[in-house]
């Protein structure tokens, strides 16, 4: 299922899937793990304990600190999986030790929001 493992880990959990890229800074509340950008398709949901699947990270370089913060605040996803991994998500997950995967494109498309899956 995974094309590449960027940060090692084994997880099983419920998928929270977004069709939109994520700018971690400004989109996610680092204290609660809630999506606070009203324009985002996950608005109002929390990423805590999910397997967060989204196309790729965008925007602020400081988003890496948001990823580190959500882990420190115990509101992080169990793992993240993307189509394409950008430097912010890769470095943030590496430092926070959140398992991170790149998925095969067809697998990525098949996974639906709410699915129970295992990665790693």
């Amino acid at each position: 299922m995974t094309q590449k493992i960027i940060v090692q880990g084994k997880v099983t959990g419920k998928v929270l899937k977004s069709n939109q890229p994520i700018n971690f800074l400004g989109t996610i509340d680092k204290k609660t793990g809630e999506i606070i950008d009203k324009k985002h398709d996950l608005y109002g949901k929390t990423i805590k304990d999910s397997i967060l699947i989204f196309p790729n990270g965008i925007g602020s370089s400081v988003g890496a600190y948001t990823i580190y913060s959500i882990k420190s605040n115990n509101v992080s996803p169990l793992a993240m999986a993307c189509k394409k991994v950008d430097l912010t998500v890769a470095s943030g997950c590496a430092l926070a030790n959140i398992p991170l995967f790149i998925l095969e494109p067809d697998e990525y498309d098949k996974i639906k929001d709410g699915d129970e899956i295992s990665l790693g």
Partner: protein, 384 residues
């Protein structure tokens, strides 16, 4: 990614915890971008300085890291949360100031050059063409690649920090191949800096790593910076070239309709309670220009201008800072519009600015409405 023996040892923790952390970050980034090896970099510019953005977890991480880590190359730093000369005017709580001070000390211990600026390219001389650097601030990375002819990926706060500590970065993406995969045709007539900001925001959304823009000749500094900053906000694109004959496979138009869509996404008010200029911070050229535009005029509302300290000092000695202050502007250094804790819902509902990047974060992080206008209109509408 292939590592040398020494790099491998560092990753395994044989040369200390901070180097291990740095190599862990570089390895993940190298893996994600299919790098084959690390290359030396000659200048790092790190983000993650403002307590408002990195919070307690970030402050603690830096305090811990700075016990052992030392920067190996020139390392400039992004803006922090406030200007210490005027912080008492803004009612920040003691905790904020204490934590911000701790962050400043941590970077100081690691050996930063205290720029506190998002426009290091306007303060320091740029190294020669094609020099590998590692810039985290997205507008600075795009500016370095597109206008400064340097080589950097659109680094993250941690990848640039890891590069600062090791003097290395994965050789991948734009460092290796920066040819545009898309060409955007600029169709909007009589563009100003706001138009280029809207174009950049659009380009960031649709383009991959590098984009060609046709139909644009020379851009002045204000337009260039506006384009770089907005492109960095909306996407992962790290470079643009002005090229009417690009052989990029994908072609896209940017016309009045696309422009209006982006404008409607970010503009949410017809007027602002406060004006902010500078995201990116203003450089000397823009300050000089603004002083001339404001001759004999004065702002009717509070107007905050963000600029690097080094630039403010120059502007002061040349007399421009005084002229701007006479026109009612407040000059703030070491901090910026973007993610400022100084403009909050407690005091204002809406802000007028010409910055697309500023608008995005005012909306999403500060929860404020935004009134977008080009600088010329801000001056004609908001001064008398």
């Amino acid at each position: 990614m292939e590592l040398t023996r020494e790099e491998e040892e560092s990753l395994n923790g044989e040369h200390g915890e901070s180097l291990q952390t740095a190599y862990r970050i570089l390895s993940a980034v190298g893996e994600a971008t299919d790098a084959e090896r690390l290359v030396p970099i000659h200048w790092a510019h790190v983000s993650g300085v403002n307590y408002n953005t990195i919070g307690d977890a970030g402050e603690e991480f830096l305090a811990n890291l700075s016990k052992n880590a030392k920067f190996k190359v020139l390392t400039t730093v992004n803006p922090m949360g406030y200007d210490k000369d005027s912080v008492e005017k803004f009612g920040l709580d003691e905790n904020f100031i204490q934590k911000q001070e701790s962050i400043r000390k941590s970077y100081g211990k690691m050996g930063m050059t205290a720029s506190f600026s998002c426009i290091p390219y306007e303060i320091y001389d740029l190294p020669r063409e094609d020099t590998q650097v590692s810039f985290a601030e997205s507008n600075a990375a795009i500016y370095a690649n597109s206008i400064g002819h340097l080589k950097t990926n659109k680094e993250s706060a941690f990848s640039a920090l890891a590069s600062a500590i090791t003097g290395k970065s994965p050789y991948s993406d734009l460092r290796k191949d920066d040819s545009p995969s898309m060409s955007i045709s600029m169709k909007v007539q009589d563009p100003n800096e706001l138009t280029f900001g809207l174009l950049g925001y659009f380009a960031g959304k649709v383009a991959d790593k590098s984009v060609a823009i046709s139909g644009v000749k020379n851009l002045d500094k204000r337009c260039n910076k506006s384009l770089c900053a907005s492109m960095g906000t909306s996407g992962s694109c790290g470079k643009f070239v002005l090229d009417d004959n690009s052989n990029a496979s994908e072609k896209v138009d940017f016309d009045e309709k696309e422009m209006q869509n982006v404008f409607d996404e970010l503009n949410t008010a017809d007027s602002g309670d406060l004006i902010t200029l500078g995201s990116p911070q203003l450089g000397l050229e823009e300050m000089t220009d603004l002083a001339a535009m404001l001759k004999g005029r004065s702002f009717k509302k509070r107007c905050l201008i963000f600029c690097p300290r080094a630039i403010q000092e120059q502007a002061r000695s040349l007399g421009y800072a005084g002229q701007l202050e006479s026109a009612g502007c407040e000059l703030l250094s070491d901090c910026c519009t973007c993610l400022t804790p100084l403009v909050t819902k407690k005091d204002v509902d809406s802000v007028t600015t010409n910055s697309i990047k500023g608008a995005y974060y005012f909306k999403n992080s500060n929860g404020l409405d935004v009134n977008l206008k080009p600088l010329s209109e801000i001056v004609s509408d908001e001064t008398s």
